[in-house]
């Protein structure tokens, strides 16, 4: 299977507002796909649809060969929400071990490994409520990694992290992809776009670029991705 995710004509309405206007894209397996775009562009909604927690108006999303949100996918998909979703009144280790226990074949040792992988080894026995903001999000990331899913959907995993840690996290994402995991990572920081194998640029609920970073640069005629995106947005607006 070449594509881990197939999205076809996806329309999502939240409240009275149409948030995604018929999106079609595919995500290659075993690669890091970056979902980029300004805040409010629909990145989170698209990720929620992929994980299967978003009500959709029309269109379809297939994940690892099954419709998104199928019970069979629950042990195979890991989701990191944008706001950290871990128990503040438990320690990092208690959180990771609890989420580990929900997946078949995952042990406490795997939980401890996930904590080290996000650089929280020293803080493992600290209550989450006493962590800094960056540590708090990494505790949440550890709980998404712990189930060793085939697909990881990470909503802004590197926000608020210091540059060294950010670099380490990106190395980890690529190591996971090299081992066969498919990753979808959202970001609104363009300097992270260059680290992805593939880019999907979303703006106002539409996809305006969907290619490798190299191809996006070539298409826009500039080496700077931030500039490339600006040019693509202007070109799109000129055609409307």
């Amino acid at each position: 299977m070449d594509n881990a995710i197939e999205v076809r004509d996806l329309v999502v309405v939240r409240g009275r507002r149409e948030v995604l206007h018929g999106i079609t894209t595919s995500v290659p397996a075993g690669k890091v796909t970056g979902l980029l775009g300004p805040s409010g562009s629909g990145k989170t909604t698209l990720m929620r649809a992929i994980v299967g927690v978003q009500k959709v108006r029309s269109g379809r999303v297939d994940v690892l060969g099954s419709p998104a949100g199928s019970p069979a996918l629950r042990a195979r998909v890991g989701y990191l929400t944008q706001a950290p979703s871990v128990y503040a009144d438990l320690t990092v280790r208690e959180n990771a071990r609890y989420f580990a226990s929900l997946y078949p074949g995952i042990t406490s040792a795997d939980a401890d490994q996930a904590i080290r992988d996000v650089g929280l080894g020293q803080a493992a026995d600290q209550l989450v409520s006493t962590l800094s903001g960056g540590q708090h999000s990494r505790a949440s990331l550890a709980c998404a990694l712990v189930g060793k899913p085939d697909l990881l959907v990470l909503d802004e995993p590197t926000v608020g992290q210091d540059p060294v840690l950010r670099d380490e996290l990106w190395q980890r994402f690529h190591a996971l992809a090299a081992a066969g995991t498919t990753l979808v990572v959202s970001s609104h920081v363009m300097d992270e776009a260059g680290r992805c194998d593939r880019l999907v640029l979303v703006r106002e609920g539409r996809i305006i670029a969907d290619d490798t970073p190299t191809a996006v640069r070539a298409d826009a005629g500039t080496d700077d991705l931030e500039d490339a995106f600006l040019r693509l947005i202007r070109r799109e607006e000129a055609t409307v």
């Binding site: 299967g52 927690v53 989701y79 706001a83 128990y87 226990s101």
Partner: protein, 245 residues
């Protein structure tokens, strides 16, 4: 459902309580303070505490469990942990029964300590066995918990959640026979009291108070309370939606 996930969820809720000693202390001690207050309130009226005390041992866990469960579940919703849990292999009932067992354990401790104080320190006299009082009190606490889980779905903030307590718990407490015998109420209130599950918990406790051996009515009342708790848990499961807007 999975026994492993259920037990680990129960363990997780108990760990959260272990880290929150003040809440546990309040849950255990608050009913003692209130029972003491009630005991001295009827200081010059012998025999009244036997009637009122036994009811309160069942009513306090109901109210307290309703309150802490609705807040606990609201937190699961607002911090996003619920949404995350529902993307994992966890079954909704693993979560609900996990809360049920963990808070049930807490309620058992609470009811036992409360009953202990009433019997030994205040000389509470019941014709029936004290263990039955505790069993009914725990069933009552589980009912409060199940209603708390259900009603928390309709609250989007803690301000709203705490106000469901007077809305859901107070009418049941007023009409359960604690303040006035049910047959002396206006007919429509009497009718209303027959559909409130707390009424049956109180009636069951009164049966234990009045009869040396468990009566058929007491077992029926206990069954109704347990049935209402299961019904409320099933309704709560329906409020946990995997897909939302």
């Amino acid at each position: 459902m999975s026994v492993k996930i259920l037990l680990r969820t129960t363990g997780r809720v108990l760990s959260q309580l272990r880290h929150d000693r003040r809440t546990v202390a309040m849950v255990i001690l608050l009913p003692l303070v209130l029972l003491t207050l009630i005991y001295y309130l009827f200081d010059k009226q012998p025999g009244i505490f036997d009637k009122v005390g036994i009811i309160l041992i069942g009513v306090f866990p109901f109210i307290l469990m309703f309150l802490i469960t609705s807040i606990a579940m609201l937190r699961e919703r607002t911090t996003g942990t619920l949404e995350r849990l529902l993307t994992t292999p966890l079954h909704k009932l693993d979560l609900l029964f996990g809360y049920g067992i963990a808070f049930g354990v807490l309620a058992a401790v609470q009811a036992s300590v409360g009953a202990g104080l009433a019997y030994w320190a205040f000389g509470l006299h019941t014709a029936g066995n004290a263990a039955l009082v505790i069993v009914i009190a725990v069933a009552d606490a589980v009912l409060g918990m199940a209603l708390g889980l259900f009603f928390s779905a309709f609250a989007s903030s803690e301000f709203q959640a705490v106000q469901f307590m007077p809305l859901v718990a107070f009418p049941q407490v007023f009409l359960c026979g604690l303040f006035a015998p049910r047959d002396q109420m206006a007919d429509w209130l009497h009718a209303l009291s027959t559909i409130f599950p707390l009424t049956y918990a109180v009636q069951g406790l009164q049966e234990v108070g009045a009869h040396a051996t468990p009566t058929a009515l007491m077992w029926r009342d206990l069954g109704i309370v347990a049935g209402a708790a299961v019904l409320a848990l099933a309704l709560s499961a329906a409020t946990l939606r995997r897909r939302t807007d």
